[in-house]
């Protein structure tokens, strides 16, 4: 029986994930994370591999237990104490988990994280200006006046024109949407090379979400930043990301160009997820719901495909071993039957 504590990594060295531009900016290979829960070690990520190229936007999509947020935290070195990490995370070639001291601080300037709830990540008793310019002043030694000037400039880029006044305000004086825009501006001030956005619009109104997404997309392209965009919404990820990674039960199950995700998915879960959404353009008699519920990595039955119990296409081969990653048509799938199901998934989903 497999020992859940020692999962063999299958490092993703597939050539299709590297573009001609050269080495990827962020390279996660065989990442496995175990957390201690009630005295037992439980896997929350199993053998996760993904890459983000310079200037590329990659979406990370999944439901509860998929491990998408945990992946972002692992990349940003924000895992809870006692977490056991296997596999590697490399940023610009350097091993992220080995960084310390000044190197770690420099890494945090280069990788900026935007969280879901801006209020939970801002100090309510400090002015917005202090918080925004802090990294510039303390880590990069920029003088205060210059830091404020840059902050005001960045605020106008996110659509906040009266920047001077806003810098003097406190977080509670602003709406969620405004605060999130300020967080984006703050993240961009240190001129990072990679943005980690963890469900940045989930807590926002749908119209504010569209606005913030447009800002994020526009600025990212203007500054040539790479981005890892985490969300539970497949369409949202496809909207601003070049490639989308789909996760289930702590594993990567599909990597696909966003434009092909709906028309030609490579994994039954992706197709089922897309099909489960109601259509704003028409009423279906009944939605195509996936039976069962999404599992965490440690709840998944060992020794078989984690999605098999819920999969309409599951075969015997799916229950005999955890499927390996397969390359297909420029994408990646963790389905043992990916080749056979190619082209049929979309038909089955749309009935």
């Amino acid at each position: 029986m497999n020992d859940p504590g020692r999962i063999q990594p299958t490092a993703c060295t597939l050539e299709s994930t590297r573009t001609a531009a050269g080495a990827p900016l962020l390279e996660v290979a065989g990442l496995t994370v175990l957390l201690e829960v009630d005295g037992a070690k439980r896997a929350v990520l199993r053998d996760v591999s993904l890459t983000v190229q310079q200037g590329e936007a990659v979406g990370l999509v999944g439901e509860s237990g998929s491990g998408k947020s945990m992946t972002a935290r692992a990349i940003d070195r924000l895992l809870p104490r006692g977490a056991e990490v296997q596999g590697s995370i490399r940023f610009g070639g350097a091993d992220v988990n080995a960084l310390a001291g000044a190197d770690l601080r420099r890494y945090r300037n280069q990788v900026a994280m935007i969280f879901q709830d801006p209020r939970a990540h801002t100090n309510p008793v400090r002015r917005v200006g202090d918080f925004m310019t802090e990294a510039l002043r303390t880590n990069l030694g920029v003088p205060a006046a210059e830091a404020r000037r840059r902050a005001v400039d960045m605020l106008s880029q996110v659509g906040i024109e009266d920047g001077d006044r806003r810098l003097r305000q406190y977080p509670h004086q602003m709406s969620g949407g405004m605060l999130q825009r300020i967080m984006i501006a703050a993240a961009l001030l240190t001129e990072p090379r990679l943005l980690l956005a963890d469900e940045p619009t989930t807590a926002l109104d749908v119209t504010t979400q569209a606005e913030v997404m447009a800002i994020l997309d526009g600025l990212r392209r203007d500054f040539g930043l790479a981005m890892l965009f985490i969300t539970h919404d497949l369409e949202l990820a496809a909207a601003i990301c070049d490639r989308t990674v789909v996760m289930y039960a702590g594993q990567v199950v599909e990597v696909r160009a966003s434009t092909l995700l709906h028309t030609d998915p490579l994994h039954p879960y992706t197709a089922a997820l897309a099909a489960a959404r109601p259509d704003i353009g028409q009423t279906a008699h009944r939605l195509r719901a996936i039976p069962g519920r999404p599992l965490s990595a440690f709840e998944a039955p060992p020794g078989e495909c984690a999605f098999a119990p819920r999969c309409a296409h599951a075969g015997d081969i799916c229950r005999t071993a955890v499927p390996a990653l397969i390359e297909l048509d420029g994408g990646i799938s963790r389905c043992a039957l990916a080749r056979e199901l190619r082209g049929k998934l979309q038909e089955a989903a749309s009935g």
Binding site: A210, E211, R277, I280
Partner: protein, 270 residues
């Protein structure tokens, strides 16, 4: 379920709610015929949840009337008996599955308590009805006997739906009831709600920011902006051919395959 004699099962006229100087709901009127479902959409702060709370009696309207099943509920109930009767007319399912159940009560206990409130039945009959309701919402025996902390978000929402249905209301208000659920679970619960409606003929009032969910579940839609109705009509028409700029903006902001976000021309006043 109350007999409405052809009258609308829920009717609001000139609803207004002020909190001090702030007018949150301004002159809202609508009629919900028996067996039909209504959606109330709009951005946050538009007044949607306030309207839900007024209908269900958690908030008294400043002005205006609400009539459910032929009974006026515009003023707070004067007795517990009155409140219980109103509970049999209109019920509500809240958004957050993690705080809408008593953490110390099993699903069976939750449903049983409501049955005891509304009916003077012996324990055996209550047990049978509890099992029926649990089955109706798709909870198995193990889940019915479990405490909320052992249940997932989707399962908890099922318990909340069963609790609401135990009162056999004519109207069920769904206040963003599926918004906190995973996509695959949301689909299950939406199907469940449709099945329940087929079986019990309950009328839904759906408060939602998710227009795709609105399309799936409702016949009529009310679009709110700053407390006022800016557009109303059959759901399909409102979503396919929005007339008011607010509705158009909501429609344009909804992610769907092939959608690209664009910065809005109107600056947001905050």
């Amino acid at each position: 379920m109350a007999n409405t004699n052809g009258a609308p099962v829920l009717e609001a006229t000139g609803l207004r709610k002020e909190f001090g100087d702030l007018v949150v709901v301004d002159d809202i009127s609508f009629r919900l015929p028996l067996g039909r479902s209504l959606a109330i959409v709009g951005e946050s702060g538009a007044g949607k949840t306030t309207i839900a709370r007024m209908i269900v009696g958690l908030e008294p309207p400043t002005r205006g009337t609400i009539i459910a099943c032929g009974h006026d509920r515009s003023r707070p109930a004067r007795s517990t008996r009155d409140r219980r009767r109103r509970g049999r007319e209109v019920q509500i399912v809240f958004q957050d599955p993690y705080t809408s159940l008593d953490p110390r009560q099993t699903a069976e206990g939750t449903i049983d308590e409501v049955l005891r409130l509304h009916h003077g039945w012996p324990a055996s009959r209550r047990r049978a009805r509890t099992a029926e309701l649990a089955d109706l919402v798709g909870l198995d025996t193990r889940q019915s006997r479990a405490l909320p902390r052992s249940l997932s978000g989707g399962q908890r929402q099922r318990v909340a739906i069963a609790r609401a249905l135990a009162a056999e209301p004519a109207v069920l208000i769904l206040d963003e009831s599926v918004a906190s659920l995973d996509v695959s679970i949301q689909a299950q619960v939406l199907n469940l709600l449709a099945d329940i409606r087929d079986e019990t003929h309950v009328s839904y009032v759906l408060i939602s920011h998710d227009l795709a969910v609105v399309r799936q579940l409702t016949d009529e839609t009310l679009v709110l902006h700053c407390g006022k109705v800016v557009e109303r009509g059959p759901t399909a028409r409102v979503l396919d051919d929005p007339q008011h700029p607010c509705t158009q903006r909501l429609r344009a902001s909804a992610p769907r395959p092939g959608w690209k976000p664009r910065r809005q021309a109107l600056p947001t006043a905050e």
